[in-house]
Every structure is written in structure tokens, then in C-alpha cells.
């Protein structure tokens, strides 16, 4: 078992490496930072351009550039941005921002998604089921930036009616905010609510659909009947035997949902001016910055692949039938 998980981990590391290499090559081929430089008015002297080219290792073939960069990465140095600032300095902060936003959103999403799915399944074709279905379809068919904007407007209205800015939705903190740690924590929470809700709603809608159908499969099962036949009340049988079994197929979903969300969160970050990884990717592409793009790709690859690994672990933990 441990051996299996270790082998999988090695596989994933290789995959992350390959993904990053591809992103790096693609970025190197398409980006033209020197061209940007040359279009400046007045154009910089040729010596400056040559120096820049040398700094960016553009005079080397792409694989060599990649390994040079990778060599740094292994030692914790992700290279420099196009504006010549060390990436490593910014990386930690941005990862923190992204994780803060998503971990919370996804946890809430999973908890309430599962709950909503279970309730819908148990009360199939009742009002609550129809309501949950409607909710999910509306949320899932709304693009994130629309949903975010609507929530923003809602928050603004709420603030107006209260007459105080309770819910804040620009950035992580109020710039220049000073106060005790309690006050600054509160300030952060005020900033966190609307963006988290934006993410959580989508997640709830998504998970609840899957949980509903996996729970419905279990509802008609013989073992649930056996559990009741031995004296468990329906409710207890449903949760102890039914839900526990219905969660198995969800494990993969939970894990991958997390990995992909980091990429999908780009819009949310931009919308609420959170300078996380998603935001950075857009910045990286628009400034034609290979190193930043590759760094974000590496981060996403690591997230996705770690999720895959986590899914394996969860699966093995949840389902005794998986013997590896």
C-alpha cells in the first residue's frame, strides 16, 4: 500500500516536470520580450538589448534554458521576472493568498455540497429536491465573474442598507489598516466573505449534484435494508451505512476539484483584486514573462497532481475493496 502510493508519487513528480517543461517551451516560443523592448520609443541601444537577451538566456536553446531555470528551482530560486525582480520573493505571498481563498471556499463547498446532495436524494422529488436542483443549475450555468459581480452588488446593497461597510470586496485587507490583531483579523474576515462565497456557491452546486446521484444509487441498495432489518432507524442507517458508502466515488471529485479550482480561480482573484497565483498567470502572460508563466504552471501542476495523489489516498482509505 505504502509502496503503491510512493510509486504513484514518483509518477506524479515526473508528470509535473513534463507539464512544466511544455509550458516553459510554449511560453519561450511564443513570447517575444525583446520585441517588446525594441518597440519602445525611443528604442533602447543595441548593447542594452543584447545584455537583456543574455540576461534572459535567450541566446541559448530552449531545453538548455529550461534546465538552467529548473536547476534554480530545485535550489529554491525561480529566476527573475521580466522586471528583474526575484520570483521567489513574490511566490510565497501569492501562494498564501490563493490557498487562503480556495481552501476555505472548497471546504465550505464540500461540506454543504454533500449535505445538500444527501438531503435532495433522501427527499427526492420533494420541494427541497427541486429547489436544490434549480439552485445548482442556475449557479453552474452562471459564469464566475457574473456570479461574483452579482454577489458584489448584493454586498454593496447590504452595506448601504446597514449604513456601514460590513462586507468588503477589494483586496485582502484595507490598505494602511492599523489596529490590534483582533481588529485586523476582523478586517481580513470582512474581506474574505464575498470572494469565499463566490467560490463556495459554485462548489456546492457542483458537489451536490454528484452527491445526490451517488446517494440515490445507495438508497435502493440491499445493505441499507439489511442495516434497517437489524434495528437501525432509517436515519441512522442512511448516515452510517448509506452516506459512508456514497462518499467513496466523491473522493476523486473532491481532490481534483481542488487542483483545478486554483486555475479556475483566476477570475475570482481578478474580480476581488486578490493578488494570488491566478492573477499572476495573467500578469505573466500579458508581460510576456516566461519565468512567471512557468512558475505558475509548475504550481498548478503540483496542485493537480498532489490532488490526484490525495484522491488515491482517500480512495484507499474509504474503500476496503481497493487492494493495492
Amino acid at each position: 500500500m505504502t509502496g503503491f502510493l510512493l510509486r504513484r508519487l514518483v509518477n506524479y513528480v515526473v508528470l509535473a516536470f513534463v507539464a512544466t517543461f511544455l509550458a516553459f517551451s510554449l511560453a519561450s516560443i511564443t513570447f517575444d520580450p525583446i520585441g517588446v523592448l525594441q518597440q519602445r520609443n525611443p528604442p533602447p541601444p543595441a548593447a542594452t538589448i543584447d545584455a537583456k537577451r543574455h540576461d534572459l538566456h535567450l541566446d541559448q536553446p530552449i531545453p538548455q534554458r529550461f534546465f538552467t531555470w529548473m536547476g534554480g528551482v530545485v535550489q529554491g530560486d525561480f529566476g527573475r521576472t521580466i522586471a528583474d525582480r526575484p520570483i521567489t520573493d513574490e511566490l510565497g505571498r501569492r501562494v498564501g493568498v490563493s490557498l487562503r481563498l480556495f481552501l476555505l471556499g472548497i471546504t465550505i463547498g464540500i461540506l454543504f455540497g454533500v449535505l445538500l446532495g444527501v438531503v435532495s436524494a433522501i427527499r427526492q422529488y420533494k420541494f427541497s429536491d427541486y429547489f436544490a436542483t434549480l439552485f445548482s443549475f442556475v449557479v453552474l450555468s452562471t459564469p464566475v465573474f457574473v456570479l461574483g459581480t452579482v454577489l458584489k452588488l448584493g454586498a454593496q446593497n447590504l452595506n448601504n442598507s446597514i449604513g456601514d461597510n460590513v462586507l468588503l470586496f477589494t483586496g485582502e485587507t484595507t490598505p494602511g489598516f492599523e489596529g490590534s490583531w483582533i481588529a485586523s483579523l476582523l478586517d481580513r474576515v470582512q474581506h474574505l466573505i464575498v470572494p469565499t462565497l463566490t467560490i463556495a456557491l459554485g462548489q456546492i452546486a457542483y458537489y451536490s449534484r454528484y452527491q445526490r446521484s451517488s446517494m440515490l444509487d445507495v438508497l435502493g441498495s440491499d445493505f441499507l435494508r439489511t442495516a434497517q432489518a437489524k434495528g437501525l432507524t432509517r436515519r441512522k442507517a442512511l448516515f452510517k451505512h448509506g452516506l459512508r458508502t456514497a462518499l467513496i466515488p466523491m473522493a476523486t471529485l473532491f481532490a481534483f476539484g481542488f487542483g483545478l479550482l486554483v486555475v479556475g480561480g483566476t477570475f475570482t482573484e481578478r474580480l476581488f483584486s486578490w493578488f494570488g497565483m491566478g492573477d499572476w498567470l495573467i500578469t505573466g502572460i500579458s508581460t510576456q514573462d516566461t519565468n512567471v508563466t512557468a512558475t505558475v504552471t509548475l504550481f498548478v501542476a503540483v496542485c493537480v497532481l498532489f490532488s490526484g495523489w490525495l484522491a488515491d489516498v482517500l480512495y484507499a482509505a474509504l474503500d476496503p475493496r481497493i487492494r493495492i
Binding site: 432489518a229 476496503p320 475493496r321
Partner: protein, 709 residues
């Protein structure tokens, strides 16, 4: 089993008085698109303490629904009326919380499909312990419950129970899971156990073991048992009283012996006449009950059996007959207006059934008179081998073992002959069949069909042989394409072989006639037919190209007995009429005895005994055949109670790792009684197939005749 008395100390309980269960005028209906399905329509019965009541009836007759009603486990949309009293207390109207205090403690239930009856994510031990914990709450510690779970597993015959309690359900075989479910059912020493087809999904050898366990369970708990089954053999030796259900009602009730000997309702009579008998040598006619059970949404007035009843008269259609006393005894009751006439007739039981339903023994084909040696060989297998690799890993598969699915089997089938192949599931029956149908050079040994070696065939000659070699599968629904009308289904093989349109258009109605369906049915879709009719369609399709050899894989095992009889009769008629040869694979030995001329008994990829049907059944030489035959219940209460069962222990070993020497030795009862020397022979030397008499061979070093029927 000596711990049993300690486990179940019933001294503190008051001596039971009155019936444990009293069901009165129970009716259950479900909403459906075509109106209310009246699944149970006024059912009344009682179970006395310690009594075993058998409930039999066709699929859909309301057996399961009525017992789920007792457990309070029907889905919420079911409408339930009437009264269900358990030890004097009314159960209908109790809420889930109140019922849950009774369920599993006073009344428990064993379900049909053991494979899905246990929650996959908890260990077997934990699930049994849960039954104790949920009812005794703080009065029993977790450790004590776990210990007790192990004792219960031991009681139901799980070897090495301490270890096995920690296993998950998927690590148990079907039989072991059913034992675990029974352990759960008796955990709280209930007063009533309801077993809904507890052995239907199991192999006969395992069925015999599980029935034995149920008997033990009854002895130690003293509980009343309601056993539901469609197998009249199972209840014959086990039940005290019997209730026959038809269309949601009881149509006959009484003592088991009485009903088997003197059935007083035509339906019961028909049922008894429709089962082939394992213990009867000479050909007996099988009684088919024509038609199907009525739809439960719109029952016409009158006797629900009237459309299928050979004794039906106008009066039957006016009012539904009530259960009335037979021969002036309230012990035996039947719902038929002509009960008295049945009583007055000179014949009884199966004989009466044959007379009343007008069944006949199917004439043998002329070719059957020709001595076997002089007939042509249509199929010959010699030393046929088929192994499957066992692989591990998802991306990089590596071979970790070999399943010896078929390991060198030889037999031949001559013109106009039926060879039955029997054996437990997993013994290689279907693999053998698939190898034959493949018509490729086998992995080992030779296969020749109609005189042609499969190894020498090219694409063209293979296709030509396929015309003469056709197949009928078990599941009539799965074998037919639901989107095609019957005409196309039957025509398909002819189209594949490029027969012209006109020929096909003439042939299909002919085939429908042949299998007893109406010509007008050609335009209908498979879903509009009943199971028996679908099987007939499958047979018509197989016959389309005038084959010489039909391969039948469990062709009747998905059908109810009354329907099964009709299909068996049809197969016999066709064989005689068209001079066909059959390879008939089945697990039901009674059916094989009835239809086959010769029989081959398979065990773990080998043939252990082969020969003339009557020879093998009346004088079996191989211990496995003896055990197999002995495991099969006979629908005759008197005989059945006197029979001594040879129980095969344990489950089939894994075919990936068959035992050395004789493959049956791990379960062989004879082996255990042998001297050490002889035992060594079994372990070291694989027994060859030896002549045991005329056309009778067995593969056992110490073969000896033992009569078991």
C-alpha cells in the same frame, strides 16, 4: 455447537403462548403509471412459536412484499392496510423508531442476495456486532459485542472466525456472506426469522450448507421461521406448514405433507407437476402451466388463476373463491370452487397433475433407437485446455498467475443426443461452451465440430460450421436486442448468412409456429414478451439456420418453474422432430436428469464423472457427484426428511491455485475417512478417468457406488 446453548440462554423468557405472528387481511398496493399495483390482496396467516412456515409462489405473487410489510421495510409510497400482529402487538401504524426496536431484536430477516446484503465498507465482525450494540445499548461493551460476533460467526460455521471477523464483505464468498447475514439475524435471539429466498442465489452445495445453518439457527433460538422460496424442494424437508401464493393471495395452505400428497387447488397441482424429479428414473411428463400470472393492476373478477386453469368453468369467473376448509379440516384450506372434485378423483399428486393438465411424455426421435456407437459424432473435445492469465497493475500489467478455467476435458456428443454439463458456478462450464463457440484452435487439446478440427478451419469454413452450431443463452432479455422487432431478431442469423429475403419472410412465421408463438407476434418488440416467451424467441432464432447442434447455456434457470416446464418440453419436442443434438449446460441437476441422455460433472476445470444419466444419478461413483446429488432437495416431504445429506465443506477453491493431486480433496468427505496412505495418493496423484461400467467413467482413486437419492 456446544457453545450454542450458552449463547442463547432463553431461560429468562416467558414461555410463549399464542402465535408469534398473526397477519390478517393484509393488503399492499403501489402507485404505478398504469394504475395501482395490488401486490398483496387480503392475505391472512399465522406462525406459531418455533414453527416453520414455507411460502411458495411464482415471481411477482407478493411473497417479498408481504414479508417486507411485516418488517415495516416497504418504500413510503406503499399503501398498507389490514393487520400485522407480532406477539399480540399491532405493527401497522408504528413509526420507524418504534419498529426499529423490534426489527433485528424480535423479528429479523435474511434476504435473497447475499452479495449485496452487507455494507462494503465495514468489516463483517463490526456489522454483526452492530446488531448487538444497537439493541443493547449500554448493556453490552464494544469488546463484548465483538467477542459475541466472533462466537456467532463460529456458530454459523465460518472457519477461523476470529480472523474472519476482521474481513470485509468482499473477501467472503456468497455462501459465507449469507452465513454472516444469518449470524446477524440470530444475534439478538429473535422470536421470528423471515428468510426471503435465502438460498436462491447460491450453488446447490452451498444451499445445502446454508439451509443446515438456518436449521441450527432455529434450534438454538427456538424462533418461528417464515421461509420464502419458489423451490418446492427447499421447503419440502424444512417447513412444517406451507402457504401457496398466487396473484397476491394465499390459494392453498396446510401441512407440508398434506399439500404435497393431496393438493386441492389446480395451481398447486400444476406447480408440483411442473418440476422435474431428480429421484425418478423413467421419463415423466412435465406439466407446463400455460400463460402468465395476471397483471396486478386490473384483475378481472373471479378466480385469478382461471385463464391458466385446465379445470376452469363459467362459475370460476363470477367471484373470487375464498380459502375454504378441505375435507372438513381447517388445517388444510384451498381457494378453488372445484376442490371437492379434485378430492374425489382417483389419482393424486403429480399423477393427477399430468391427467388434469394433459401433459404427455415427449416421443423419442427414431435416431435414439440406433445404438450410440453407430451414430455420428457431432462434437468432440479431447484434452481441451483454456487458461486465463491473472494480471496485476493498471498501466503496466504483469502476469501474476493463471486461472485454470478448463484444464483438459474430453467428451463427445453423438447425433440426436443431449449431453448435460453440471457443476458449481466457477467450475468452467461457460468457458467450455465459449471455447466451442469460438471455433478456434484451443490452447491445448483438440476440438472438432461435425467432424472438422477447429484448428484446420479458415474463415469461410468456420462460417459454414457456424450455421450448424447455434447457441441459446440464459438471460432471455439480455440476449435479445430490445430495439428490434421479433421478426428482425429471428431473421438476423439468416441475414448474416446471406439468405434471400423471400426465404427469410417465409421462414420466420414457420419458426414462430415451431416454438409455439403466434405469427402475428413477429412485429412486436422483446419487451412485450414474458420471460418464457423470450426464451422461445431465443430458441427460434437459434433454429433459423437448421443447425445440427445446439449449445444451451442455462436456458431455463431464469424462468419460473411453471414456465420452465413448457420450455423444457419444447426443447425435447424440437430435438425429436429435428434430430438435433444438445450440449446443455445447467446447474439444476433435476432438469438435466430430465432432459439429458448423458451427463458430465465438472469440478474446477475437470470432468470428474461422465456417463449415462441414469447410471450417474442412480449409481454415482465420484464423491463430488454424490455430494452434489445429495445436496439437491427433493420435492417430497417424506423422502426429504429421511434423506441423509452429505455436506461438502467449504467453498470452491480458487481455480488460479487448484489443489495438488485430486482437485476435490480439500472438500472430499471420503478423503477424510481414508487411511494415511490412501490420503497421500489423493494428494500426490491426480486421479485419471477410469471406466466404471458401461459408458460410465469417474476420476477418483477410490471410486465406489453410493446411493444418495
Amino acid at each position: 455447537m456446544s457453545s450454542a446453548e450458552l449463547l442463547f440462554d432463553s431461560a429468562d423468557r416467558p414461555a410463549p403462548t399464542g402465535p408469534v405472528l398473526e397477519v390478517h387481511d393484509l393488503a399492499v398496493s403501489f402507485p404505478s403509471e398504469s394504475g395501482r399495483v395490488r401486490a398483496v390482496r387480503g392475505l391472512s396467516y399465522q406462525v406459531a412459536p418455533g414453527e416453520v412456515l414455507g411460502i411458495v409462489g411464482e415471481s411477482g405473487s407478493g411473497k417479498s412484499v408481504s414479508s417486507l410489510a411485516v418488517m415495516g421495510l416497504l418504500p413510503p409510497q406503499a399503501r398498507i392496510t389490514g393487520s400485522i400482529k407480532f406477539q399480540g402487538r399491532e405493527l401497522i401504524g408504528l413509526n420507524d423508531g418504534e419498529l426499529s426496536k423490534i426489527r433485528g431484536k424480535r423479528v429479523s430477516m435474511v434476504f435473497q442476495d447475499p452479495l449485496s446484503a452487507l455494507t462494503p465498507v465495514y468489516t463483517v465482525g463490526d456489522q454483526i456486532a452492530e446488531a448487538l450494540l444497537v439493541h443493547r445499548g449500554a448493556k453490552i461493551s464494544k469488546q463484548a459485542a465483538a467477542k459475541r460476533a466472533v462466537e456467532l460467526l463460529d456458530l454459523v460455521g465460518i472457519p477461523n472466525a476470529v480472523e474472519r471477523a476482521k474481513a470485509f464483505p468482499h473477501e467472503f464468498s456468497g455462501g459465507m456472506r449469507q452465513r454472516a447475514v444469518i449470524a446477524m439475524a440470530i444475534a439478538n435471539d429473535p422470536d421470528l426469522i423471515i428468510a426471503d429466498e435465502p438460498t436462491t442465489a447460491l450453488d446447490v452445495t452451498v444451499q445445502a450448507q446454508v439451509l443446515e445453518v438456518l436449521k441450527t439457527a432455529q434450534e438454538v433460538t427456538g424462533a418461528g421461521i417464515v421461509i420464502i422460496t419458489h423451490d418446492l424442494g427447499v421447503v419440502a424437508g424444512f417447513a412444517d406448514r406451507l402457504m401457496v401464493m398466487y396473484a397476491g393471495k394465499a390459494v392453498e395452505t396446510g401441512q407440508v405433507d398434506e399439500i404435497y400428497a393431496r393438493p386441492r387447488m389446480p395451481y398447486t397441482l400444476g406447480l408440483l407437476g411442473s418440476i422435474p424429479r431428480l429421484d425418478v428414473g423413467e421419463k415423466q411428463p412435465l406439466v407446463p402451466i400455460v400463460g402468465q400470472p395476471p397483471s396486478l393492476t386490473e384483475l378481472p373478477p373471479g378466480c385469478p388463476f382461471a385463464p391458466r386453469c385446465p379445470m376452469e368453468v363459467d362459475a370460476c369467473r363470477t367471484a373470487e373463491p375464498e380459502l375454504v376448509d378441505v375435507d372438513g379440516s381447517a388445517e388444510h384450506r384451498a381457494a378453488c370452487i372445484r376442490t371437492d372434485e379434485l378430492a374425489a378423483s382417483d389419482t393424486e399428486g403429480a399423477e393427477a397433475a399430468v391427467e388434469i393438465f394433459g401433459a404427455e411424455v415427449v416421443e423419442e426421435a427414431p435416431i435414439a433407437k440406433v445404438p450410440r456407437e453407430e451414430r455420428k459424432i457431432v462434437l468432440q473435445l479431447s484434452g481441451l485446455v483454456k487458461h486465463y492469465p491473472v494480471t496485476k497493475g493498471v498501466v503496466l500489467k504483469r502476469r501474476v498467475g493463471t486461472v485454470h478455467a478448463v484444464d483438459g476435458i474430453s467428451f463427445d456428443i453423438r447425433e440426436g443426443e443431449t449431453l448435460g454439463v453440471v457443476g458449481e458456478s466457477g467450475c468452467g462450464k461457460t468457458t467450455t461452451l465459449m471455447e466451442i463457440l469460438n471455433l478456434q484452435k484451443p490452447m491445448g487439446g483438440t476440438l472438432s465440430v461435425l467432424g472438422q478440427d477447429a484448428a484446420d478451419l479458415n474463415a469461410k469454413s468456420r462460417k459454414a460450421i457456424r450455421r450448424d452450431l447455434q447457441v441459446v443463452f440464459q438471460d432471455p432479455m439480455a440476449a435479445l436486442d430490445p430495439r428490434l422487432p421479433i421478426f428482425d431478431v429471428i431473421a438476423e442469423p439468416m441475414q448474416v448468412h446471406d439468405l434471400d429475403k423471400e426465404h427469410i419472410a417465409n421462414r420466420v412465421p414457420e419458426l414462430l409456429d415451431l416454438v409455439g408463438l403466434r405469427r402475428e407476434h413477429a412485429s412486436r418488440y422483446p419487451a412485450e414478451f414474458s420471460g418464457g416467451q423470450r426464451q422461445r424467441i431465443g430458441i427460434a432464432r437459434a433454429l433459423a439456420l437448421n443447425p445440427k447442434l445446439l449449445v444451451l447455456d442455462e436456458p431455463v434457470s431464469a424462468l419460473d418453474v411453471s414456465i420452465q416446464a413448457g420450455v423444457i418440453n419444447l426443447l425435447e419436442e424440437l430435438k425429436a422432430k429435428l434430430g438435433l443434438s444438445y450440449l446443455f449446460v445447467a446447474h439444476d441437476l433435476s432438469v438435466v436428469r430430465h432432459i439429458a441422455d448423458r451427463v458430465a460433472v465438472m469440478y474446477l476445470g475437470k470432468i470428474v464423472e461422465i456417463g449415462q444419466v441414469d447410471e450417474v444419478f442412480d449409481a454415482p461413483r465420484h464423491p463430488y457427484t454424490q455430494a452434489l446429488l445429495s445436496a439437491i432437495p427433493i420435492p417430497d416431504p417424506v423422502k426429504e426428511r429421511q434423506r441423509e445429506r452429505i455436506l461438502v465443506t467449504g467453498d470452491l477453491p480458487s481455480p488460479a491455485n487448484p489443489p495438488s493431486g485430486c482437485r476435490f480433496r480439500t472438500r472430499c468427505f471420503l478423503h477424510a475417512t481414508l487411511s494415511e496412505d490412501k490420503q497421500r495418493t489423493c494428494v500426490e496423484v491426480e486421479p485419471p478417468r477410469q471406466e466404471q461400467g458401461e459408458d460410465h467413467e469417474a476420476a477418483c482413486h477410490f471410486a465406489q457406488i453410493r446411493q444418495v437419492l
